[in-house]
């Protein structure tokens, strides 16, 4: 609870950078797909970790690799994609897992919720029954027990008349209620890590606020870790202890939330912040990050074509990802250590 109070005052704070061992520790994570002109790296050398009970926010524009990063954690990269590096989850390296091991892990230790629950839920099965299936699979409950537990779970995510709602098919629920049901399903086996991929993007701002609050409340209760993905930094700022900003498959800035907002260092992060309409301030003109993500560039800084500070050096050599202050990492030639 003390946790919750700290958060009201400002951005969420990282408990301790030196806590014993994080739940998740990702090193040099790379996802490569075969392309017409040779292999294409969709995710390029990510390094990050998530402590127990904490939330990492991942932000970046469409196509930067946010979903691919999450799929890699779940062993769900398909279409010939290859995952390299190490994914240390609670002491095991997931990259070397067999399909069987993945299947046991998914939904039990790591669960995922999606932007549009309709795509992740079975449209022809009542939601209570779907949640029950997860419990039968991983917790070996009888169908009776599982469906009873499903109703409890639906109640715990704030769905009114849960016993009746359990009988509903996904399309009979409102968008907000569907997302709650999806969360109930994801949390059925009390996973240690919850991956939330744009979980509120399709919702009204009012319902978004409810869902974010629900996730944080459940996190406080269960001490689970969350990897929270969004293209909107303001949304991420409400939930994350630390934030990784991605651009074209790479991390360009990674820092505790407070540091990132107090002192955003990468020009792309600065642009993402400036571009948001501010409900508390009247501006003449909204900032726009010029141009758009250019694919196919293989040398220099990937952001150079849109960066107001780019020079010849930027276009020639790719900046290293360096720690410029404790826990604050940046990949930019113009930001010194």
């Amino acid at each position: 609870m003390q946790h919750a109070e700290q958060l009201v005052a400002g951005a969420r704070t990282v408990a301790s950078a030196t806590s014993p061992s994080p739940l998740l520790d990702v090193r040099d994570l790379t996802v490569t797909f075969p392309g017409a002109a040779g292999p294409v790296q969709i995710v390029r050398g990510l390094n990050y970790s998530i402590a127990r009970g904490e939330t990492l926010g991942i932000v970046g524009e469409s196509g930067c690799g946010k979903t691919m990063t999450s799929l890699a954690l779940l062993g769900l990269v398909s279409g010939g994609g290859k995952v390299d590096g190490t994914i240390d989850f609670n002491g095991s390296n997931l990259v070397s897992f067999s399909q069987r091991q993945w299947q046991q892990l998914r939904g039990r230790d790591i669960a995922m919720i999606f932007q549009e629950p309709m795509t992740a839920m079975n449209p022809v099965m009542p939601v209570g029954r779907q949640i029950g299936e997860v419990l039968i699979k991983h917790q070996k409950l009888s169908r009776r027990q599982a469906e009873k537990r499903a109703v409890e779970l639906l109640a715990s995510v704030g769905i009114p008349s849960p016993a009746r709602r359990a009988q509903d098919y996904p399309h009979q629920l409102s968008g907000g209620m569907r997302q709650r049901a999806m969360i109930a399903m994801a949390l059925a086996c009390r996973p240690r890590l919850l991956i939330a991929d744009e979980p509120t993007t399709a919702l009204d701002v009012t319902i978004q606020a409810q869902i974010l609050d629900l996730m944080l409340t459940l996190q406080d209760e269960a001490k689970m870790s969350i990897q929270f993905i969004s293209h909107n930094l303001a949304v991420v700022s409400e939930v994350a202890h630390s934030i990784m900003v991605m651009y074209a498959g790479k991390a360009v800035e990674y820092a505790p939330s407070d540091d990132l907002f107090a002192n955003p260092l990468h020009p792309y992060t600065q642009g993402l912040i400036a571009t948001l309409p501010d409900p508390d301030k009247q501006v003449k003109r909204l900032y726009v990050i010029p141009g758009r993500v250019t694919s196919g560039i293989t040398v220099g800084c990937r952001f150079a074509s849109r960066c107001p500070r780019a020079d010849e050096g930027c276009r020639r050599t790719e900046p290293e990802f360096v720690e410029v202050a404790p826990g604050h990492h940046v990949a930019c030639h113009k930001v010194g250590s």
Binding site: G176, V205, I207, A209, E238, L272, D278, Q282, R285, V288
Partner: protein, 314 residues
Amino acid sequence: MTELLTLDRISVDIPLDGGFLKPKTILQAVNDVSLTVSKGETLALVGESGSGKTTLGYVVAGLRKQTAGTVTFGSSQRNADGSPPVQVIFQDPFSALDPRMIVGEIVAEPLRLKGVSAKERLARAAEVLGQVGLPPEAAGRYPHQFSGGQRQRIAIARALIAEPEMIVAGEPLSALDVSIQSQVLNLLDDIKQQHGISYLFISHDLGVVRHLADRVAVLYLGRLMEVASRDDLFATPSHPYTQALLAAVPRIGKGRRKKEQILRGEMPSPLAPPSGCVFHTRCPRAQAICRETRPQLLPAPGRPTQLSACHFKD
């Protein structure tokens, strides 16, 4: 001031087929809404999903007939088909652009209906594509060859080519990247400055509205909760629902919001709207009178032009 658009006590009832052996029911999508928009003004319609924004926008654009009330245009201009000088930009540019037509044809469609020659249509299409920041070659390509932000621009170009006096615009999809959203908002602003067009701008996010609107109308269950100038609405929101919408906008650096700031529950079914004040089932300020008596839309204390429908308005 002469008003370009006057909506007087508009209601839209939608008859629903109850299904097998069930009686027909009436859904009140819009209920007794009166609003005006003057020339060159942007009026934002704000409210949660299902509050009636699109239905009201359709009435203004002549795409749906109201069941009661009158719509008056203070302009003699009419579109080719006799409809009012209003164009619509739909919220979802992915489904609104015909994938089999090239962009030049899509954009020039309103002129084809007017009987403008093919040659002139092409010239005008190139011109409006330029106005929305797309190169002339764009005219020869198909919609799927463009990014989300560019498709938004194509939809805007198609609306512009008919030289409307008013555009009904859904907010650029928030699912689009934030940088695309800000580009589109800036573009709408530029067009307004250059052409003196009025907008009816539809959104659920007051943060997005602040940049573009001159005035804001807040809808809930098809009814007006508050109507005010942008500055009044943001500085001193009067209605509890407006205050809740404002508190829900995500903000950088504020951290987790307080529980009491979060609007509880969801909008009730429009088939069974609550008695009295329709917002009372979710309102943190509700009293007994709210369940019984429907509040009138009246000026907020000391602010004659800020109207609010609440027994306990600020």
